[in-house]
Symmetry: C2
């Protein structure tokens, strides 16, 4: 909301939290605690609705949208996509839904924890399962969906993030690996550190603090993301446990040598640093994204194929 | 060196790296690439020697000290203490050695990566196994050792760190848990993330990057700390793997519920945040350490007992 107002979008919203609503209004934002009113207003002005609630609250919000804003386009920022898409399909909303997931955030929650620029340079996933389905059935993608997709990409660019097209299944697999797994690891590492008592606690420094930062996230949010993406998470947890077990067995041998493991980790880290949107310093003052870009025209010839190509590369899209 | 020069200590040193030596000299520091000369100079002025080399180079440096600076006091900053202490005992240097380990650093190495203020507020372990041994044998602690201990604590306070007395064994157990384990976890998590290919790499954000930051550490340094502290590390790795396995099994069940695990991780994180020397903001502009302080007089009645008490609390010492 802060970023889009800055980018001259008209934005209004609903917040369940009374104190959060009051704080936003005090700062001059158009926020209300009356969901029905906000949704009717959205319907009147044909707004695009951004659902930004934890997974367990999505169904209720979608039901309210069906009732009070029956023709608005919908996107969301929930960190799992299949459970949301299931709710969308149950309600037959797939022709007016584009899933979203900004890969940015902190361990804090609520309006008071929001700040401008959080999404700058971040990957922001946009899902496109609906046009894939249309193509399979040899049906044209409806113009309304194409317009919504364009709107959602403009919202993302308005927040200075990078739009990455990803199908629902591929999204959940990838974020199980690079987002939900780090949360589980942070919780486990916090417990092991704490087991060391006051001395270990006193000696914990940078490597420990950084690795456990996200264990400060509200437990219900961590549960929501991990439990609803359990299948993908189990898969990457198995990989993680196997790698740790191998390192452990090596360290337990008469003459430990973990060079292969450490070299592999270091190489992986180097590759990831180069690819995770870390903006390279160049001679020019303009920052350059490390993600490959694909310029496409929504609805144009072969545009869905282009989305698939961008997904394979983890690339970002620009729209013309 | 930067911090101690700032604190008006006289500091000079040796650096094996030609470019590092040149850069330091250019900045006005007294650094030389001639180890023998530097050690002779140290002997002349009765300097306290800080050994700041990777574990595999410690034996060689100690041999040079025995030859060229036979009466200087010695401390070190190596991240394991038992392997260093074994080398000290082999050479009969225990009466002029106080082990050290500053719990601060980055994933970068070399003179160019050094900066002032790195140690501010950090825990800096000082070992005291020698006076414990003296007490066991009912022998007085030699005045030379007491003076060296006082010197080392003053060096630590000069770097604005906090001196935490810890015996060699307890140190290696604690840092296995809160420092070496996070390094192993960061390597493993980097490999799992990288296995996700370009899409996962592109989507990796804050939680992943923070958790894997130290995988950017030079592999030989990671090997040195982990392989030389293998026993303690295996112990905490077993704890880690067991906790991850339990979470994994729960997530793999028909109705995943990891509330107990996530709540435990969150509680542990909260406790650790309060204890790891995070300086609380108070009304006064003076920052207050969260570590309990014990003021003691080295060599005074019961002072070794006071060191043991401080260790149990993870507390810092001040000297009068």
């Amino acid at each position: 909301m802060r970023d889009l107002v800055n980018a001259k979008h008209t934005v209004f919203g609903y917040n369940r939290s009374v104190s959060g609503t009051r704080a936003a209004v005090k700062e001059g934002f158009e926020v209300s605690g009356n969901l029905e009113e906000v949704l009717r207003h959205a319907e009147e002005v044909a707004a695009t609705i951004v659902v930004a609630v934890p997974m367990h609250a999505v169904a209720e919000v979608l039901d309210a949208i069906v009732e009070h804003a029956p023709s608005c386009g919908i996107t969301d920022v929930v960190s799992v996509k299949k459970p949301v898409y299931d709710l969308i399909l149950e309600r037959g909303l797939e022709n007016r839904y584009v899933g979203g997931h900004p890969m940015a955030g902190t361990e804090k929650s609520g309006w008071g924890a929001s700040h401008e620029g959080l999404f700058e340079g971040a990957a922001w996933v946009v899902t496109y399962d609906y046009p894939l389905e249309c193509e399979k059935k040899d049906q044209p993608v409806p113009a309304e969906w194409i317009d919504l997709f364009t709107n959602v990409v403009q919202i993302i660019l308005g927040a200075k993030a990078e739009a990455i097209p990803v199908s629902v299944r591929a999204h959940d697999e990838a974020v199980g690996r690079v987002s939900h797994l780090p949360h589980v690891v942070a919780e486990a590492l916090s417990i092991v550190g704490d087991n060391g008592g006051t001395l270990a606690q006193s000696l914990a420094a940078g490597s420990f603090k950084d690795a456990t930062r996200v264990a400060g996230t509200a437990p219900e949010l961590v549960r929501a993301m991990c439990e609803t993406n359990a299948k993908a998470l189990v898969y990457s947890l198995d990989e993680m446990i196997e790698i740790l077990q191998e390192a452990r067995d090596n360290l337990d041998s008469a003459d430990p040598d973990i060079s292969e493991f450490v070299d592999a980790g270091h190489r992986a880290h180097t590759r990831l640093e180069a690819r995770t949107g870390a903006r390279r310093e160049s001679v020019s003052p303009i920052k350059i994204s490390s993600r490959p870009v694909m310029r496409l025209h929504p609805g144009g010839p072969g545009w869905v194929r282009q989305l698939v190509q961008a997904e394979d590369l983890g690339g970002r899209i620009e729209i013309f």
